[in-house]
């Protein structure tokens, strides 16, 4: 209770809100929410890959994305997937990288990569839907 040398208890006042990520519950919940969205969407996308998209040219992909429901489903899938990946990689970095400078640098790099690659997917889906290949 009084921070005795071997106590397992932490000083609540000192620790509160200062977990490694500073927002554990939101992180945990968003990881589950995006996982839940991806359970049907990833299975759907796998079926679409196998039935429509393997070996398809850009015109065939844009024809597939002409259906607004398909475009919306793919957008939700891609956004969920990039969010889920970012959260997962964040935990890996926080678990294994103990140097604060390297940790922050890697987290920033992860965020930037996910943001650029995710936006590239979103732009591509929107363009293929509205304009075509």
């Amino acid at each position: 209770m009084h921070n005795s040398e071997s106590s397992l208890r932490s000083n609540t006042k000192r620790v509160r809100g200062l977990g490694s990520s500073h927002d554990g519950t939101g992180h945990w919940w968003l990881q589950r929410l995006t996982a839940g969205a991806m359970i049907p969407l990833s299975v759907w996308f796998t079926v679409q890959l196998v039935t429509h998209l393997i070996g398809a040219d850009a015109t065939a992909i844009s024809a597939w994305l002409k259906n607004p429901l398909v475009a919306m489903a793919l957008l939700i899938f891609v956004v969920s997937m990039f969010t889920h990946a970012r959260l997962g990689v964040q935990v890996i970095i926080e678990d294994y990288v103990h140097c604060e400078t390297k940790k922050i640098a890697l987290l920033l790099f992860t965020n930037a990569t996910v943001l650029v690659a995710g936006l590239a997917c979103v732009f591509a889906i929107v363009r293929l839907h509205f304009i075509g290949a």
């Binding site: 040398e5 071997s6 106590s7 397992l8 589950r32 996982a35 839940g36 359970i39 990833s42 299975v43 796998t46 196998v50 393997i54 070996g55 040219d57 850009a58 992909i61 844009s62 997937m81 990039f82 990946a85 997962g88 990689v89 890996i92 990569t113 996910v114 690659a117 995710g118 590239a120 997917c121 732009f123 591509a124 889906i125 363009r127 293929l128 290949a133």
Partner: protein, 135 residues
């Protein structure tokens, strides 16, 4: 810096534990998750190429169609089915279910069999389709 200040007890080091199915599948969840994340880059290049850069799309398609590309895609298929099934196992645990030792082992075996079977099944269909278009 916290390590030097704190004299609180530490868990025994990882190396003292016997390697078994539970911890193997646990680290595999992380490894497959990271591998799937790496796969997002080629996915993004493929989609972006289809919409904006025909040359990029042609390169991406050629890499996917090559032997190494197919091998990578098979690895991603395996990682995907594994991460999906083991993710469902995690969600079940989140609801407080399936924690008996026998249940944890059984669900672990189911996940491995599911991932292997679905990956092989998927690629039988894929290779069948590719064979049909080339013939």
């Amino acid at each position: 810096m916290t390590k030097a200040q704190s004299n609180r007890p530490l868990s025994p080091h990882l190396a003292i534990y016997r390697w078994q199915i539970t911890n193997t599948l646990s680290i595999l969840h992380r490894i497959t998750g990271f591998g799937l994340t790496l796969g997002l880059i080629p996915l993004a290049l493929w989609l972006y190429g289809a919409a904006y850069e025909p040359a990029l799309f042609a390169t991406a398609s050629a890499i996917f169609a090559s032997s190494i590309g197919k091998l990578a895609l098979f690895a991603w298929t395996l990682a995907f089915y594994y991460h999906l099934a083991n993710g469902l196992r995690h969600i079940n645990w989140d609801m407080g279910k399936g924690f008996d030792l026998s249940e944890v082992t059984d669900s672990g075996h189911i996940v491995v069999v599911f991932a292997l079977a679905m990956s092989i099944l998927t690629w039988i269909i894929v290779l069948g389709k590719l064979g049909a278009t080339h013939a």
